[in-house]
Symmetry: C2
DNA sequence: GCGCCAACAG
DNA sequence: CTGTTGGCGC
């Protein structure tokens, strides 16, 4: 089973790119973040026509918003409020094989990496703490197969950013964020599939700023988009080797691209 | 000599349409209104590459703005403030043959056709009064060949609108506006070329609202864009017959069209 | 309906 | 730099 995740930065603007990606990669399920539209504005029609007839959306006007689109039926669709906010940053569904799929859009965190002066950064830290605590229960309750994907807005490792030194004090790569992400990984017993399959020092990025004149030339990327699997799926995730995992960076060259590229994992179920 | 006028409703957004029109119709000079950009933002480069190397612009951020682009040199470029406002509604230049060309964008006038409650309508009436008075002097000073073109935002005749009755109290076709336009025509001894060549009851429209679902089917147009000539040019304007005059309504079907279409007149000089 | 801009967010 | 919204003007 092939799972994809993509921060699409407006699904209405980029529905043609989504369709192109689905045609090229034919994942069984695609998790989107930053759809930036209300549920009723989500372009479900062309997705259904493309063979993805099962769609779960949690959207709002303008900001954030997540969705799961799948070829096969989605069961037990749920959304969860983190930090007591109803801001469309999580949606979950169970896939036919019994895999529980969680799709996240973690707060970006603003500019200043100081929770005392920056509410957005405080929100991000709180969100990650809650995600870690929630992971504990999730690892127990859904004792079985689970996948967590999404734009977690943290690049945890030295080689997940273009310059570890220059980004140490930049939101997305600060030690406090990295520690919270590692705590979530540990408490949920999650496997960070990308880094298990492709160890450091190989660089891995899934996001490149719009501000660069030539994103590929400067290559100042960050690995913000992740796929985590629960212990019962560890073998299915890793047995295929690195061929089972892909960062589709050619999509960054498409017309009017998202600043994130899609990431896929094929589970050997 | 072929003269064109077009309210382009943002020249930056529609520069490709302008280039296409220039290629198709090859006018000697094109007058644009509602360029909606500052002088330095005007897309002069591609116009020059297309053979229109002489450009005069009077633009500002966001609203209004007029320009003249020509294959041959423009002399004595002037802009005139009407109603004491510096709002980029007029630009003039002299063409190589000695023709004085005036390009206008008359105020739209708002919704309520009552100058006592609607300042915009009052401004429009004042503008037309000033245009009429200015025409007197212009007819004397530039005693010779002159052309006045532009979006005058008035449809003066019964068959210049889709329903004379339904528009009698709608700004652009009210009796007070029509009388002021007729006064300007008389005081400047101008010839309204379109209606001399194509008499009523034939309908003539140069503008169709964006709000119609199917502009051609409903065909609720208005003739807002005009080409007037001074007495010394009357023969040159009319001798070619109606073949010399054209309303290029096919441009309304182009991608992301302006709500106005270009109008051309070939002067038999 | 469709331009523009400013404000906000990423 | 690239999205969103909301207000304004036509």
């Amino acid at each position: 089973m092939k799972i994809a995740t993509w921060n699409i930065n407006s699904v209405r603007l980029r529905i043609d790119s989504v369709l192109r990606f689905l045609k090229e990669e034919a994942p069984d399920v695609l998790c989107l973040q930053e759809i930036k539209c209300r549920d009723e504005q989500f372009p479900a029609r062309p997705l259904r026509s493309a063979g993805y007839e099962h769609i779960a959306v949690s959207g709002q006007a303008g900001y954030h918003g997540v969705a799961i689109i799948a070829r096969a039926p989605l069961k037990d669709v749920e959304t969860r409020k983190f930090c007591g906010k109803d801001d469309c940053r999580h949606i979950a569904a169970t896939l036919p094989g019994g895999v529980r799929l969680h799709n996240f859009y973690v707060p970006s965190g603003g500019d200043e990496p100081d929770p005392a002066v920056n509410d957005k950064f405080a929100h991000k830290l709180d969100f990650m703490k809650e995600l870690a605590e929630w992971s504990v229960g999730e690892a127990q309750t859904h004792s079985k197969k689970a996948v967590l994907v999404g734009d977690l807005n943290i690049a945890p490792r030295e080689h997940d950013v273009w310059s570890h030194r220059q980004l140490l004090n930049v939101v997305s790569h600060t030690p406090v964020e990295v520690e919270l992400m590692n705590a979530a990984l540990e408490k949920g017993k999650w496997t960070d599939v990308a880094r298990e399959l492709i160890p450091e020092p190989e660089k891995l990025y899934t996001w490149w700023s719009y501000r660069a004149r030539d994103w590929r030339a400067s290559n100042r990327g960050r690995r913000l988009d992740h796929i985590w699997t629960s212990p019962p799926l560890r073998k299915a995730a890793l047995s295929g080797g690195r061929a089972a995992f892909a960062i589709h960076d050619h999509c960054r060259d498409w017309e009017r691209p998202s600043d994130h590229v899609p990431v896929t994992l094929t589970l050997d179920l």
